[in-house]
Amino acid sequence: MADQVDSMSDAELRTKLAEHGFPVMPITASTRKLLVKKLKMVLDNKSKPRNSVDNKVESRRSLARYSSGEESDLDSTNNVKERRGRRATTGGAMLPPVSNKSRRIPLKKDSPAKRDSDKGSESEEEKAPVRTHEKVETVTTRRVTRTYANDQDDYETGSDSDVDSDKKTSSPFRSSSRSSDYISSTLPTNDASTSPPKSSIFSRPSLSHSNYTSNLSSSDQLNSIRSRLGLTSSLADRPPLSTYTSNYASSTYQPSTSGVDEIESPYLSNFTRRLSSLKPDPPKPSSFLDRDTTNGSTLIPRRSYITGVPRSDIVDYKAVNDKKFLKNNLVSLALVALVALFFFFLFFMYIVKKNDITSVVDDQNIVVPICQLNIPGNRPGINCVPKEQVGYAKDLMKAIHPKLMARTAAYKCGEPGALPYLTGKEIIEIACPQTDTFSRNYDQCTTDLNNLQILLVKNPRWGLNVVQLKNVYTKDVEYTPLTSTEAVVQQRNKGSVAIALSDPSTPISCLFINTLYSAGSTFVVVGIISVLVLGLQRLYKYYLSYQKKKSEEIYSMVEQIIDVISQETEDSGEPYISVDHVRDTLISPQNREKMSSTWDAAVKFIQKNESRVRMEVQSVDGEDCRVWRWVASHSSPKRSTSWQGQAFETQEGSVNNLTVSPTPCLKIRHMFEKNDTNPNLRTVIQDVILEKCDRCNILHIDIERTSCCVYVKCATPTDAGVVYKSLHGWWYEGRLITVKYLRLERYMQRFPNSPSSGPYLKPSRLRRSWDE
């Protein structure tokens, strides 16, 4: 189908698209490719479901396997109490009549016959519930419903034999049911199952049926039922059987709806799929039901179990999951464990091998220079060993080896005073007091030692070295190994011969501790250094910011002082003002102490750098005090808030005048500079604008410092026109103002909280007269 799409004509393509609900659009050279692709995609989507149906049988089987495994896990891990509780809640909440009755079904003697009929119809679908059921039986639960005990025999055979799917032979009702139409018999059976023992009530068929459907709407729900059933039971065989049959019947009752789900859930069997397809039908009042919906929508069995886990009402699912995880990953886990074991073994062998001196010594390949009488150069204890004394020497070595090991370890671990070798004297002290092996006299010990030294020189693979100490008397650890018997004999006379391990290895624990220690100390040092550096940096930053703040304070103070001086001198008519008076007007009493340094700095600054102010000493009211005299002319224009005239005409008829003002919002540029840090900038600007345009109603004024824009919102577009005319093209503090209209939406986007009506803005201070 998809292949044909390429070769379709434009008209065909158009109709095809229209068929699939696409808006018909012109098919041109540039759009055709796109539309073809679209159509293909749609066709692909449509054809998918059909393919997946073929897998049904396969997937069903896998579910049967899967669910049975699941079931056994579930049941074995469940604890009785919990199940009972859950059963009680479900029974109470959603299916009070059904849950009770379903357990009682087996008591009914006459029910099997009816059950047969609904059970039979689809043998494959039955496998899943039946097999699960088998697992349920294998589990022994403590709780026994005694009412069923007497009936047990009747039903056991029937239900058990189902397991092997050999239905014909074992259960008569099964075989007969095959041929019958299960749908027609579904309702009666349900009724039968719900009826109390020994009595069949067919009075409420539809009710019980609907309960079942709601109950069983998803695989998860199914699970909960299974677990519940598993619980009821040493007699589990009977109740589950009947329940499942009825479940099954109710689910197959609406067999048509499974289409979409099949795509998504390859491992679900037809049975579960149908269960889940029933999901939307019944009303779902309880918590079980939301679980249904989530699981029903994902519909992948594993998923659904996992999503079910965190819910508090099914704690045991968690255990099930863990077990399942273990089970499924058994091989891989085992492999990992095997590898770990292998390496551990290697490691162990390495350690053991290294330390096992006896095996090395007893090895046959050792070189023993046996003293032979017929060779003239042989001297026992010097370059050869008498044959009978080799054993003694070896024994001696075995005796001292552990001690030597311990010493080396102690030395390596950095124990104070520990030496990595044993001197001849020490060896004799160790060896000779031992009564059992070395109970011979001192000479014997010495001889053995001499022999041992010879042997060690001849057999370097023993791992021991005969060494010459650099300094015998100080506890110096330096030594050099001796390689010839002559040297050994020479040094022996000096008493500076010792035995040491040739390749001393540090014990693991020691190594570990040493490493930890060095790493820790490095870490500490690095930490201290970094903390110091960080602290210094922070300090420096703080210092800088402090300096900046200080100087800003001073500058603002200076400005304030000059403002006050010029203002006061202008107002009072006296050309000077007392310094202290200025300070007292500017700084509130509680801040005076704190601000004194700032004040002093500001005074100094003015004295040094301000030409318009002169400091002198005047007698004010008979008291001499320092005063500031305002030297500059009074007529000089104020530095701030001044409109300095118009750059170009914006009145009626001029080119720059817009006849209609489109929006009530304006954007004014260049009212201030980017680095203006005045905290009251907004108030200042607002006042300036309001003073300039006192005839119009302004709702909102705000500034944006980054782009140096002032935003003005007026009550009406006409007002905005007035503002536009009175501001556009004016010089303000040496900057040319430009005004643009702004769409109301944009304005609202930027200032969502700006008022759309209400009180108009008023200048925050008394109006000052400014020159035109």
């Binding site: 808006p23 759009t31 692709k37 986007q749």
Partner: protein
């Protein structure tokens, strides 16, 4: 998306006239080059395609992807730009 790029605002602010395709939001030099080789040298040509596709976002984005291998953000920007322009001026 509350804020739009400067390029978007510039484009939407006025009739497109003879603006090159690179003036569209989301179309940079690279995409512009690709679109030009595909014959879409002016913004109004892209607008034409946009209109032929009936202002359908999905299809337009798909088309952008096909024609100049634009990513989803670029095509979404371009779509939004043209859509806003149309809302304003069409």
């Amino acid at each position: 998306m509350s804020s739009t790029s400067q390029k978007h605002r510039n484009f939407v602010a006025e009739p497109m006239g003879e603006k090159p395709v690179t003036d569209l939001a989301g179309v940079g030099e690279v995409l512009g080059k690709r679109l030009e080789t595909a014959g879409f040298d002016k913004a109004y040509v892209v607008l034409g395609q946009f209109l032929v596709l009936k202002k359908d976002k999905e299809l337009f984005q798909e088309w952008m992807k096909e024609t100049c291998s634009a990513n989803s953000k670029q095509s979404a920007d371009c779509y939004q730009c043209l859509k806003d322009w149309c809302d304003e001026f069409l």
